[in-house]
């Protein structure tokens, strides 16, 4: 481009719309709380290798007594092999968050692709893709995920895949509906009359209008993906070499920690799941409210 004038001006304007969005977001108290919790959890999860020694997770290298109640040595007690529950929970957050966000991202990509394609091209494409979406929608997601993780090799990637391919239909439906609405706008017709092809219409007009909504849904999907991950791990379908919150709950069940009254082994991962899921849900709802003006201002 020959001049920096107009585009520089645009660059200056974009942050101001972002700032406006942030102001609206700040009015959502739940959203701010959720965001604060998430930032804290993510920072802790990322800094785990810096602040703690992963050697403590190795069963062969711990010497403490199993199933100790919380005390001075171990703030949250120890598990059946004498590892610190605090350390396990800390490291477990990494897997739970990783699987949750990757699965949500995967489901977002599939859902957006299917939804936009179906709505934009219409006709047969729409019919076929919609039937496919309906098929995945009515399929019991957990059963499919179990089947998938049994067939494929065990590991984090398998879990991500299993959750991702079962949770996209809602996103696809939503994106399709939104695309249909956006496409009836006169500016899309104008773009076509200017000579714009599918790529132009989708890239410049449809996707930018659909994406904010997709982000809000994805945030909500992360929450359900974390629950799905915990469920699958709890059922013993996770990666056995890595600690996750679901896997912790499973071993607590398996080793009789529950009957032994070792509440300190069950509560931290359980609360971890509840808090992170709640935080994601709060953020997602707040984002939805900010991005959807129809929800904004109601109930005040």
């Amino acid at each position: 481009m020959t001049t920096g004038g107009p585009s520089a001006d645009v660059r200056a304007r974009r942050p101001s719309t972002l700032a406006e969005g942030w102001r609206a977001y700040r009015n959502e108290r739940g959203g701010v709380f959720g965001l604060a919790v998430l930032v804290l959890v993510v920072l802790l999860a990322l800094s785990a290798p810096l602040l703690t020694d992963p050697a403590g997770l190795d069963v062969t290298r711990v010497e403490d007594a199993p199933l100790q109640p919380p005390g001075a040595g171990h703030w949250l007690g120890t598990d059946e092999s004498g590892r610190s529950v605090l350390l396990l929970t800390w490291w477990g957050a990494r897997v739970s968050l990783l699987v949750g966000s990757c699965a949500a991202a995967l489901s977002m990509v599939i859902g957006t692709l299917v939804g936009v394609t179906a709505a934009h091209f219409g006709g047969w494409t729409d019919t076929v893709l919609l039937r496919l979406t309906d098929f995945f929608l009515v399929l019991p997601a957990l059963v499919l995920a179990i089947a998938l993780s049994t067939v494929l090799s065990r590991g984090v990637f398998t879990i991500v895949l299993a959750i991702g391919v079962t949770s996209w239909p809602q996103t696809a439906r939503l994106v399709r509906a939104q695309t249909l609405t956006v496409q009836t706008r006169p500016y899309v017709e104008r773009a076509r009359a200017l000579g714009g092809g599918h790529r132009h219409v989708l890239g410049r007009h449809v996707l930018p209008a659909v994406l904010p909504l997709v982000f809000a849904t994805t945030t909500l999907t992360v929450a359900s993906a974390i629950i799905a991950e915990s469920t699958l791990s709890f059922l013993g379908l996770g990666d056995p070499s890595r600690t996750s919150w679901g896997a912790m709950l499973k071993s607590a069940m398996d080793t009789g920690a529950v009957t032994a009254g070792a509440w300190w082994y069950l509560l931290p991962p359980g609360l971890g799941i509840a808090v992170v899921v709640l935080a994601f849900t709060l953020c997602g709802r707040a984002l939805e409210t900010v991005l959807n003006p129809r929800l904004r201002g109601e109930g005040r």
Partner: protein, 536 residues
């Protein structure tokens, strides 16, 4: 003599974060029983706010000062119960846009009977209600069977009649009609106005009618008041006001709606003779378009149409809504594929391959009906105008060309506009941006679909002036699609009249609009509300 409505020094302020904003400024108006008063003004001049203030229907942020006397009662002093009794039984409203003012999930009967029910002391018998609704429907000339219909089963004109029947349900002494015919085309507008006029006169109710169109008001009201920026700038007898307007703004309003047949409102020199010019730029031959809906019913939206747009001429395509004008325009633009016939540009058919279609679209550009919708709210003016160039990968000197296009569309200085977003512009400026977006590709033909229908009276004139200027300076051919014969009269060389998908008549404007051959053209002309010519 007691008056039905008297406004004494009425002002309305809206509380905004930036302090109170005055919307209505010390208005004094009076209306006698059975009288008719027209309130004219542009959008945003406060006329609707004033009307809603009569029934205290304004939002909480509004603060009303002065006295509103309805049947000699001060509305602001009424108790909640007293206010409810006055609403609808004392004064009723025919709202703008019947599509949204009617409840889509209730039948016409339920909705007309609702005010009767609410205002009856004891529960009225269903048979009595049925009789009443039947009588009301007859008064607005709707068949009584329509009482069982839902709003979506009715046409726009029928819905507006249902609104009128609702307004008359409690025999109010005042009916307030807020732009009752805005979304309707000329023929339906004439019918609805006729019904409203008669229904109000028969019952001896007073009518306060609000419109931006002076000619519609002039046909109905005995007195007119013109509002401008919240204040009434002129009021008086209709005949006096339209023939000898005193205020500048009244003159502007009157001039914005040209009278067909009046040489003063014709802005082109049609004597050049545009028939048989031969070198057609854009032509349609035997074009037919058929839609198939969900229930597999075939609708022939356009049938066997022959139409040409030659170099350096303005063609107007007129017809009622639903006559297939827009479908024909989309077909000419290649946005819609004809089932039969051919569209040619300079004798060549735009191919179906994306490359040749793209080249064709460079030459034939669209100016859409609603400039607010036609601009992506996320794109700046610069991006909106440059969009065409970017699509055609023709970005050499982009910034220069965008600036030139903006200035050609009379957005000067262009630098002030490039960084703005559509919501920061007025309606007229947005339409100019859309026009600039088309001009930047240097097309040969512009297809303008109702280019001024959504704009205010005074802005209309400016946009039309712009289109005329573009033709003069660049020799740009324009196909204007409109339901407004006055518009066709003021800017077009040739006019084509469309009815139910077919062209019934076409020829030079002077001939077709002054000596129409087809009865449909005559019917259209008869329905146009006309203003006794303003003497300057």
């Amino acid at each position: 003599m007691t008056s039905v409505l008297r406004l004494c020094d009425v002002s309305v302020d809206y509380a905004t974060p930036a302090g109170p904003r005055r919307v209505v400024d010390r208005v004094n108006l009076g209306l006698d029983p059975g009288g008719t008063l027209g309130l004219a003004g542009e959008s945003g001049c406060g006329k609707t706010t004033l009307a809603l203030a009569v029934l205290r229907l304004l939002p909480r942020t509004a603060r009303v000062r002065g006295r509103v006397l309805l049947n000699e009662q001060d509305v602001s002093q009424l108790t909640w119960g007293g206010l409810r009794a006055v609403r609808w039984a004392g004064a009723s409203v025919v709202f703008q846009g019947a599509m949204h003012a009617l409840n889509p999930v209730r039948t016409v009967f339920d909705q007309i009977a609702e005010p009767v029910r609410v205002h009856s002391v004891e529960r009225p018998a269903v048979s009595a209600l049925r009789e009443r609704v039947r009588e009301l429907l007859e008064r607005v000339e709707l068949p009584p069977e329509r009482a069982r219909a839902y709003p979506h089963e009715l046409s726009g004109g029928q819905r507006q009649r249902v609104m009128i029947a609702m307004a008359l349900a409690c025999e109010p002494s005042l009916v307030i009609a807020d732009e009752p015919t805005t979304a309707l085309d000329v023929v339906v507008q004439a019918q609805v106005m006729d019904v409203l006029r008669r229904a109000v006169r028969e019952r001896g109710a007073a009518l306060l009618m609000i419109s931006h169109d002076l000619s519609v008001l002039a046909g109905t009201c005995h007195r007119l008041a013109v509002m401008y920026r919240g204040a009434v700038v002129e009021q008086g007898e209709t005949a006096r006001l339209v023939t000898a307007p005193e205020h500048r703004h009244t003159r502007e309003l009157a001039a914005a709606f040209p009278t067909v047949g009046d040489a003063g409102s014709r802005h082109v020199d049609g004597s050049a003779g545009s028939e048989g010019r031969g070198n057609a730029l854009l032509s349609a031959r035997g074009v037919g378009v058929t839609f198939v809906d969900r229930s597999r019913t075939r609708t022939r939206a356009v049938r066997n149409v022959d139409l040409e747009v030659c170099a350096d001429e303005t063609v107007a395509l007129v017809g009622q809504s639903g006559s297939g004008k827009t479908t024909l325009a989309r077909t000419l633009l290649g946005l819609c594929r004809p089932d039969t016939g051919r569209v040619r540009y300079r004798g060549v058919e735009p191919g179906s391959s994306s490359g040749s279609l793209r080249e064709f679209r460079r030459q034939v550009q669209l100016v859409a009906q609603d400039p607010t919708g036609a601009l992506n709210p996320r794109h700046t003016v610069y991006e909106a105008v440059a969009e065409g160039l970017r699509i055609h990968r023709d970005v050499v000197g982009e910034a220069e060309r965008v600036r030139a296009a903006l200035e050609a569309a009379e957005l000067r200085p262009a630098a002030d506009f490039v960084g703005r977003f559509p919501h920061e512009l007025s309606g007229g400026q947005r339409q100019r941006v859309v026009i600039a977006g088309a001009l930047v590709l240097e097309p040969a033909v512009l297809v303008a679909d109702e280019p001024v229908a959504s704009l205010d009276a005074t802005v209309r004139g400016e946009i039309l002036e712009l289109l005329l200027g573009l033709r003069r300076r660049r020799g740009l051919s324009v196909l204007v699609i409109t339901h407004d014969l006055g518009l066709a009269w003021s800017i077009a060389d040739r006019v084509a009249v469309m009815r139910a998908g077919e062209l019934v008549e076409q020829g030079p404007v002077e001939r077709v609009l002054t000596e129409p051959e087809h009865e449909y053209t005559r019917a259209l002309l008869a329905a146009v509300p006309s203003l006794p010519r303003v003497v300057d």
